[in-house]
Symmetry: C2
Subunit: 155 residues, 2 copies
């Protein structure tokens, strides 16, 4: 179980875009320079955010990416799941019904307790991430940062 390294990139990029003026756009190339990461690959990940409806994108000069919603309505969970897809990392294959074990259907009417346990843990994880919005992240960072971010990422 490992999250892609690009997760950190898009998290920071989203927070950075949240510090721009509302509706302002910035390009993937500029963000890549800002964090020193591969530009094309970063763009690929940001596209996933667009497909998930977290970001909006416009092509051409003066184009780029921008947040699709107010910063208070974008949670860390939204961003993370936009990349990995919200699927549960544990997928129950019901092996208890295979091979010599092969419990009777009556015994398998109630769902696999292990699967339930794993799902509840995943839900706890999701709830923890859903509790933090991009606005919360902005609030806690040093006051001097947003102005500098705006300055560097504006054209």
């Amino acid at each position: 179980m490992k999250l892609p390294e690009s997760t950190e990139w898009v998290l920071h990029c989203t927070v950075a875009m949240a510090q721009l003026d509302p509706g302002a756009t910035t390009s993937a190339a500029r963000l890549a320079r800002y964090y020193d990461v591969p530009p094309a690959y970063l763009a690929k990940q940001l596209q996933a955010l667009v497909r998930a409806g977290v970001l909006g994108a416009t092509t051409g000069p003066r184009g780029g990416f921008r947040l699709a919603r107010p910063i208070a309505e974008i949670t860390v969970l939204d961003i993370v799941e936009a990349l990995n897809g919200g699927a549960d990392p544990y997928v129950c294959q019901e092996i208890r019904q295979r091979g010599e074990s092969a419990a009777t259907p009556a015994e398998c009417r109630n769902p696999c307790f292990l699967a339930t346990t794993m799902s509840q843990a995943h839900e706890a994880w999701r709830a923890s991430l859903a509790a933090v919005s991009v606005a919360d992240v902005i609030d806690q960072l040093p006051p001097a940062i947003p102005a500098r971010t705006r300055r560097t990422l504006s054209r």
Copy 2:
């Protein structure tokens, strides 16, 4: 973010071994037949459990795997982390200190808030899994199961 499919195998195998008489062993081949999974690959995963101290193993005839601790002292988390290693799936690379962003050391004294958020979520996940022991799993399964499991997995 995806857990290996073998996670389900070792979870069920551990629960199955927990239904045997204390100290009794069963072989990887027998467990593989029991759940209809690749024998050699299952053995490889069980070896990881041994290295983690969750299982014990003895070679030779009448040998095999057995639980290394009482069932109440083995949690689902122990088993899951024995395979994947307990590392946090999100690893903060401190990209905020790279590229043009490059915050000053003073601003980076406090840890990255995003990393903290991700870590807290991971801890919530771990706590949820640590709250369920193998004994809890045994308690909730239908009463007829343990006898059958013992019968099938004994030689």
